[in-house]
Symmetry: C2
């Protein structure tokens, strides 16, 4: 009997893992819910709900509101699972469970006790891109890198794990990926010389399963030199350490603070790595692999199937962490499994997500000037590499020289703000920055826990354009073309939502929630929420009514001046001066606004 | 020519004073504006606007929102003057001017630099009941008692004056009264042994004109022993100091943190004084005059015309500062100039505001048990005094004895939350508390700047009633009767608004804005704003559209547990335990929500 029970338990545990992801996929598939930050594993941020559509969206009203009790930048979005909404906050990362069946009553709140010193080592405001739901638990990844599994019903801690060390500048702002029997998590600290990694924890117990670094020796980066490919070719042994001088990879960055996608059929998950440390390129000769790289890794083993480094030897802080949106589309007459990635460097990449083949690489803002484009010739020596324009090369101009007029700025043509994809229109809806910069690199010494940046920046709207600092664009990932573009006064730092109602939503830094026609981009609705929006629009349905939810709360890198009370234009790595006018429109906040159609 | 100009300037200055109040009255009289916190000099909080009325209010929608960038308790309301809305915050008392003609764009913001130490000597959260407008200026009275006149167009400081000393526990939470050529201001600190006073400053220059204390020698309290009356009789010499032992009046309280009314025809202004210090009555024998007193003072000279002490020798902290609402009504066949005051002690007083005659004194919550009522026999020795019930007398029960089951609690049947009066229904709409308490006084020594309280309290919903902690009532001030009463789960800590649309508005601590029928009290509309409401509802009109504005942001004494992060039930003088359940409904906030009917 004892033996039997033991065997049964083992079987249950093994099944538990598989069960978790099956259940989660089923929960994700219910259009009335929003169970992970990205909407689905594909990061499409597309909802099948269509009650709020092109014809009705103009009648939208505010249904209810909720203050989170915390100020500063509110990224991410609430989740809805069954009758419960989960709302997170920036540091101190409070989590609320609101009972939607009881007018938003607070079922529980979880208030982590974190050392506020972590705020000092967060590069770009105290943001947090939100909790994830799986398997009856809510997964919180705190600023101080503590990963916490909370019972979704009670808010009680099921397990917790420590992923990094804030005293070395290791922090967290990203959501986790719950997939199969695992939680996969990233780490921040590219501005502190952190050696970036992704780590898998057992969903049931919090036990660490594997950790794959972005830079370093092959065993640390979890590659198979013969089988892991870049653009179809094996990367070979020591691919990363060969691209650094000496031990520099140990403080080499490549942090993983962006979004995760997954293809369960291929058993792969996708994410990008951030900038190599420091921002002074002269201090780190080489390609600095695998910073600035798209990774496709095996969900179970963590081993990389393919990689693609978009910006070898970064000279501009163009972190490669932006989301990978997965879609199935026809290209050259063949339906392929695609991965579309609007990189911070200003190039929109379309790849075969199974093989890592590069299909399209085009600028998605015409002002992008640091490169003439990506070499698309498979026979070329520089296949897949962007051609750098000398004038805008901070490496070639050298240390202590101010390279001016570089487009985009270090914020990129897009930063963390995620785009959306509508399978109905086969269009990507992309919140963008339209900002250029001056960039002066200088020599900097590494001290653990101290900024390891080495550059002075200033930022300004793209010259000779519409005068604004942002655009909201519709992108054709097959032809590599902008379909339409809506100029915005400030960067669109909010995530987009596409819906079956052929309406696309996004928020603005002034605080507007806007709804536009998915085909034409025509504005159909706008509402001034309490504070600037850097959160991501989500939708859910309850008792036959569709709702739209958005967090307000200005901040993030673009809003760091307001969020941290800075006024020196060069502070916040140039963002303070660039976005100074924002204070004419909004003040700090932290509120959820929920919209619906009138009865 | 020189002489002529000088004379002209002098004339202009003299006229300037008179002009200021004429202009202000004209501005107050425009129903599309809201220029002082109380709506008008009568404190009626009644608007002639009627687009939003009994029939239409059900269609109300949120028109726009604004986050103030500050958390904790948001009392008071925005003002609207012309195209500009002025919004204030709790400490640090930021003031925003929003351009209503440009979608709420921030025209200017004034951010005072105040020593945060003042927070430690504010008794009941960092609240501020709002700015006042007069004469092209916005008047801010900061927590640290600095009075600042700001140019309404530019936000530039015209003058500033220092009214008190936070190191002695002197602070401010009240709005100022701009009247004629003066600004009249109060002071807080009854829990720190502050000798309360009202002070007049010249509206043009900030020069101090006079200061009238609540307690002390006749010259300090600015009375005329022969002409200043109480209930028709001269108060005689040394009326205050005779009612204290020794020098105790010097730390005797009677602070002035409530609302001001004015009758320009009578040249009088009205206000009430707070509790005598300490809360341990055994330490301060005597009537403790003129704490707990309604004052009618001459606007120009500051000298008191009449006084009425409602709660001689307070034993429960029933501060007498609640608003005096002025009305003209028929009583016994004669139209009289009335003053109606719903006191914290649970009694609603109706007085002749010209003579100070007491007309009506009735309990406005049946649970009030500390008194059997006020002696209304003019021939009686105890005329005008409440008869104290021995069981609930913390003085008679003595020091270190816990007197239990006293109703109302120290919060009173009503606290700072102002009522409204509709001349159409001749009804007072009163937000109330339905809370009782245990009160144990203990001996305490005075140290400047340290709490001088001397009592341990606990609070709970009125027993054997509906279980909730509040009611919103309609009060007949002539018959001294409740017309109807709406039970609420928590105290109604928000101020009411009555309108010509026969709709009455108020907010709840859970965060609902509610609209009820002025005749029946039937609920017509409710909306869940971001955070608990302790602000006051206001209304304005722009381009033919009526708007309703309300600040959310839980706090104040009732919400001090949430606001200050306290959890010990006896903290916050018992309010923390009493209102513990509030955390199931709301979190801290600081947002303006503006409502209107659909186009
Ligand atoms: O290199 C890093 O580790 C790191 C972390 C983060 C972060 O964690 O938010 C940002 C960045 N870099 C960054 O480069 C950046 O532009 C950025 C913007 C934001 C934001 O949330 O607004 N975070 C970050
Ligand atoms: O005696 C005083 O000076 C004093 C000041 C204040 C204040 O300034 O807010 C309050 C009180 N007392 C008080 O007794 C009281 O109930 C109270 C409630 C509130 C509030 O805003 O919620 N303030 C005050």
């Amino acid at each position: 009997m004892k033996t039997f029970m033991t065997l049964a338990s083992v079987a249950a545990m093994a099944a538990g893992g598989a069960f978790a992801s099956d259940t989660l996929q089923a929960e994700i598939d219910k259009p009335e819910q929003w169970v992970i930050q990205t909407g689905d594993y594909k990061n499409q941020r597309y909802s099948k709900l269509d009650q709020i559509n092109r014809d009705t969206v103009g009648d939208l009203q505010v249904a209810w509101t909720f203050s989170t009790g915390v100020l500063r930048g509110h990224e991410g979005s609430p989740l809805v699972v069954g009758d419960t909404m989960f709302v997170h906050t920036p540091f101190p990362n409070t989590v609320y469970a609101l009972d939607l069946a009881d007018d938003g009553r607070i079922k529980w709140r979880y208030e982590p006790k974190q050392d506020p010193d972590v705020i000092g080592v967060m590069c770009c405001d105290t943001v947090y891109r939100g909790v994830a739901y799986a398997d009856g638990k809510v997964f919180l990844h705190q600023a101080d890198t503590t990963v916490v599994a909370l019972d979704a019903e009670t808010g009680e801690v099921a397990w917790s794990a420590v992923n990094g060390d804030p005293s070395k500048g290791e922090t967290n702002t990203a959501t986790v990926l719950p997939v199969k029997d695992k939680i996969i998590v990233g780490i921040s600290g590219g501005e502190f010389g952190v050696q970036g990694h992704v780590t898998a924890y057992a969903i049931e117990t919090g036990e660490q399963l594997w950790r794959a670094y972005s830079v370093g020796p092959d065993d640390q980066i979890m590659v198979d030199p013969e089988k892991t490919t870049e653009l179809g070719k094996p990367i070979g042994p020591d691919s990363s350490i060969n691209s650094w001088e000496g031990d520099q990879w140990k403080i080499g960055g490549g942090t993983t603070w962006g979004w995760f996608s997954a293809d369960l059929e291929e058993n792969l998950f996708y994410y990008g790595t951030g900038n190599p440390s420091t921002w002074n390129p002269a201090q780190r000769p080489g390609d600095n692999k695998w910073s600035m790289t798209i990774f496709a890794r095996d969900i179970d083993t963590g081993v990389a199937k393919w990689v693609y480094q978009m910006t070898p030897h970064d000279e501009w802080d163009y972190d490669g962490v932006n989301e990978m949106i997965l879609s199935e589309q026809e290209i050259d007459g063949e339906t392929r499994k695609l991965l579309t990635h609007m990189d911070r460097n200003g190039i929109g990449y379309t790849m075969d997500r199974v093989t890592g083949e590069l299909l399209v690489a085009e600028k998605y803002d015409p002002v992008v000037n640091w490169t003439t484009g990506v070499d698309m010739d498979p026979e070329s020596e520089t296949y897949g590499r962007p051609a750098v324009v000398a004038e805008y090369s901070t490496e070639q101009n050298g240390e202590d020289v101010n390279s001016t007029g570089i487009c985009p700025s270090a914020l990129g043509t897009k930063d963390q703000q995620p785009g959306a994809y509508s399978p109905r229109t086969e269009t990507f809806y992309v919140p963008t920055n339209h900002v250029c910069m001056d960039y002066e690199p200088f020599r900097v010494a590494y001290t653990a826990g101290q900024p390891y940046v080495g550059a002075t920046l200033s930022m300004y709207p793209a010259p000779d354009s519409h005068g604004g600092m942002g655009n909201f664009i519709a992108w054709d990932n097959i032809n590599g073309e902008i379909k339409w573009s809506i100029p915005e006064q400030f960067s669109v730092w909010s995530g987009a939502l596409a819906t079956a109602g052929d309406v696309v939503f996004y928020g603005t830094l002034e605080g507007y929630l806007k709804a536009v026609d998915a085909e034409t981009g025509d504005e159909l609705y706008r509402f001034k929420t309490p504070s600037g929006i850097i959160g991501n629009v989500m939708t859910y349905e309850r008792e036959g009514k569709q709702y739209i939810g958005i967090l307000s709360g200005v901040g993030g890198w673009a809003g760091i001046g307001l969020a941290a009370g800075l006024t020196n234009p060069n502070d916040g790595l140039g963002a303070v001066g660039g976005y100074a006018a924002l204070s004419d429109y909004t003040a700090l906040g932290g509120q959820l606004t929920v919209f619906a159609l009138p009865d």
